[in-house]
Symmetry: C2
Subunit: 684 residues, 2 copies
Amino acid sequence: MICKYSFGTPFETEAVVQALPESDQEPRFLTVRSRLPLCFSCRLGEEEAVYGLGESVRGMNKRGWIYENYALDQPHHHEDTRSLYSCHSFVIVSGPERVFGLFLDEPGRVIFDIGYACRTEMTITCVQNSCVLYEITGETEADIVQQYRRLIGRSYLPPKWAFGFIQSRWGYKDESDVRQVAQGYRDRQMALDGICMDIDYMERYKDFTVDPARFPDLAALAGEMKAQGVHLIPIIDAGVKIEAGYDVYEEGCEKGYFCTDLEGKPFVAAVWPGLVHFPDVLNPEARRWFGQKYKVLTELGIDGFWNDMNEPAIFYSKTGLDEAFKSIREMEGENLGLHEYFRMGDIIRNMSNSPQDYASFYHSLSDGSRVCHDRVHSLFGYNMTRAAGEELDTLRPGERTLLFSRSSYPGMHRYGGIWQGDNKSWWSHLALNVKMMPSVDMMGFLYQGADLGGFGCDTTEDLLLRWIAFGIFTPLMRNHSAMGTRQQELYSYPMWETFRDLISIRYMLLPYLYSEFVKCLLDDRMLFRPLAFDYRTDKRAREIEDQLLLGEGLMLAPVTEQNRTWRYVYLPEEMKLIRMKKAGQWQEEILPAGDHRVEIRLDEVVFFIRPDKLVPYTLRPGLSVAETDFDQLSILHFVKNEGEYKLYDDDGLTRDLSGEDRITTIRLTADGTLTTSGSKTVRL
Amino acid sequence: MICKYSFGTPFETEAVVQALPESDQEPRFLTVRSRLPLCFSCRLGEEEAVYGLGESVRGMNKRGWIYENYALDQPHHHEDTRSLYSCHSFVIVSGPERVFGLFLDEPGRVIFDIGYACRTEMTITCVQNSCVLYEITGETEADIVQQYRRLIGRSYLPPKWAFGFIQSRWGYKDESDVRQVAQGYRDRQMALDGICMDIDYMERYKDFTVDPARFPDLAALAGEMKAQGVHLIPIIDAGVKIEAGYDVYEEGCEKGYFCTDLEGKPFVAAVWPGLVHFPDVLNPEARRWFGQKYKVLTELGIDGFWNDMNEPAIFYSKTGLDEAFKSIREMEGENLGLHEYFRMGDIIRNMSNSPQDYASFYHSLSDGSRVCHDRVHSLFGYNMTRAAGEELDTLRPGERTLLFSRSSYPGMHRYGGIWQGDNKSWWSHLALNVKMMPSVDMMGFLYQGADLGGFGCDTTEDLLLRWIAFGIFTPLMRNHSAMGTRQQELYSYPMWETFRDLISIRYMLLPYLYSEFVKCLLDDRMLFRPLAFDYRTDKRAREIEDQLLLGEGLMLAPVTEQNRTWRYVYLPEEMKLIRMKKAGQWQEEILPAGDHRVEIRLDEVVFFIRPDKLVPYTLRPGLSVAETDFDQLSILHFVKNEGEYKLYDDDGLTRDLSGEDRITTIRLTADGTLTTSGSKTVRL
């Protein structure tokens, strides 16, 4: 059951798709500590865990830190980071005596102190003194998640090819770089389904342009790549470059589709293109206009996009930069010293993503009113991606388009996926990737994954191996790295054959991964889950944060530490261990419930099958999703009594998911009898 | 055996105390890849581990990263950090087929690529094209460490009270703050042996001054504290403030005791006091002069010091700041934009600890020659602490003084200990603290420890609990935090009683901890060891990086993850688990060799006793070391056949460690027969 309570003057975010009545009671789980500022509190029992918050640092259990939901471009995130790119104020408090969910629909700054100031108390502060609070009660975490997801609507579905391996790097500067990447993989028979094009493909970083010198014929390049099974996925940034003669800029100005300053003039910020205006994506008309611009690229044969810098990140505002220089100039008259040195550092640091800048521009809403950006800050990425999502539906009617975003808010999950933001080539960020999977999934972002190998900093071959070994299970499987860091294309490492083999496992498992993805989407369930959610009464399982359940049949236990060829694994029940070096080549071992020490060498993937579960796989994995045979299947299985699996499949492109013919039911009994009903051929 | 090889023009660092002949062979383990630059290489077998490097990021096994020994003030250290405060170019390569040590005595920049560029190769580059290389062969890691330690001389011995708990914070601004801290502990019957005084006690951050307004009578305060068993431990920074009338500054200028610029004028840098000169501690005369200055404080009753900022850290040089402002001024004429924004950030970042600054000042050596600081950079902290160490011996004849430093180099371990540098209130830095213990210990720094609870960032109560539970075993046990962060004094938390109880365990174990410390010092052995060193042939033990051996009898397995009430522990052999909540209150359990899941709640310390080992403890732990009875003892023990322990004890102050009367031999047989020879009373 969901109870809705409104406080202050909530902003209509369109996060929610169900109209619920307002409760006339006081909230049941939260105590209103004050209205100004709006602050709630809740005692936490010693054994209660708090799950959720989507993209955020620390563990699956969020206890013991303070988090601030206010979208922030924060590539340097560590344990003490409070804000990241996305904002999802949904948590589940779960303990032996109670379980409930809290969703605060509030796009201004929301602060969750989850046992930071006081170990046994959670306080939630809405800095704008408003929010719509939903309290969700249910029997289990899964039940609460499902209710939440039905409240916010069905998740985005990407095309099937988006489940293939994608190579990305900030630094592919021209078409020859792109060709070289494709060839690097193809020459070595390494699977590849996409190449992301970072900001360098554009002409002077202008959205919806293609640099004519470096990419003279993008349509031809896209076609050439597609013939090899490789989709090009260009980036779109939030800021529109101010440049005379640039149509997007001029149209936006003319039609009043940009965010404005106090005086009503387009607000000026600086990002990659230099000075930019931000499209006013909270305004439906501007949103439609911006979304239609994607046509420039879809007409060239592009069928995938990533939306970036849409917190929106601001390097500086014009005012900010001028003031910074002015402050520094003023200091010069003085006797330069320690004070000036520290001040100068502060000035530079505070210039980026500054609260003052966010408080100094405005959105024009459809009712003619204006709202200060700061009030609704965390909605920007959502609405930029919504712009794309809504219009791509009309630009590519009936067909799915790959779309993922850096920033997000509840509701955006209906239009696109996310990547877990710019991370680093750190073992701790691999571990964070693992821990974030269920939290992000819980928010409805089924299509997600982290930058494999790490975006910033230099990776190492062993880190990349371990990260890929985990990444083969994440829906978005993208290797991405930043300019200036070590090359990260898998074929450039001595152990490239191992990388090739690890990736082949992804393609082998695609029938299961895709089927589970769509089934979770249709049922509003979680694809990645903490052990705590499925094994609720197992006290041991509740404290496991480095293992994951994936779909109905699999448990993962990735290695996330350097120089470790083994790890401990906790099995809440008897399971079958699969140790795989490449598609079609594995060993099996049945392990009893309990603690195990499991060897996992650098060239192996280890995962587990739950009892009476079937995991269909293809007998013919290809070098792309298109080349992969989804019809000739076999199954990994651990049948003690009887297992049944309902396999979902479709053409991977149409947006219509109905039709019974898409389901193949596979049954296997302990005596080895296999029966199949449906269109697939399944053999043991 | 140790073989010595010289390359280029080595600088005499005085790291080594043994005169060894030069080998006329080529190095046995390293291949000289080039002389200009001086670069060595060495293949690494798949199963070989590389231990050492003292203070550095990542694991006990250093494989898979690139490290640069060039002393750096780096409080923001992460996995990709290459340089930290201290520089120790000693490693042991250890695998199934060979074990050997390499020590490169070279104070310029030394780069260790340990399987970063290529997983199976180590390359070592000496940027100054010189070094003295020592190749050490032996049967075991322990043997190699012992030879290394004999090469570099016996480790520093602090007074016994320095093994007590020390409270520190940057921000105790006056004597009332200091009194309040002492009272905070004393009122709650929480043990305390020292309070560190950070830079605020000084008059305008001038070394060897005391602010007369805020600390009107430091001698009286020190006496008042000592009467409560609390020693005051002031900080000394590397830079001497430029201020007319300040005796240290004026004398230093007059006598030419400061580092000089190219033209021979004292070099000007800026640190906390503003503009400073650096004492030329590489010059024996200047060193003596600087060391004698500690007298100002010893005469007030001070018997402990910490030397800080001695990489030496430079916020900026006068030239650097002027140039920064000039560059920014020049940009102003231009159309301010992206380029200027990025450039301004670079200017600020590059101003601190800049290689140009380090290359622009000089030391005057005793032979009248000058050497550029850059050539010998990593020697500064060593020689600043040597200045103090040598002169404190004359200022406090026969008596030990507590002395620990931030920066260090081999050889400094003869004069003082180190703390593991400014860290953060991160769980990952607690884990790093654990991993660094044996590496730092290996270098001869027996007296060491990290800032418990974390220096920078805000701690949480649970992190502090776990960190203290580990810190009770580290020789330097100091809670330290930075100005502006959350209060970190243990009495200020709701669970202060748990903190009190945890600390009581430290005092209970002091007889063992002190005895083991001194015995390791006398024998040039390691106090903290990876399991790999003691269980060489146990493949499992070789990959354990989150457990430690402490002295001959104990194994530690701290919890370093949030929201975890248990951990896995690997026992290479049968051991006795001790679960302790406070001094004198514990449970025991004998566990077989193998893997175990061990519950360790927030209010507990768990450790293990090895078979046939005795761990003496006091029956009367006090609220300070002075109050702790080292004569009335009992033993924790796990005797299967017979155990013998040689307990070392002394008055904790005299520097003379000889005398058979300091040893008590305790024997216990399996049937419970206890015999003691020596001065202590031991009962079961």
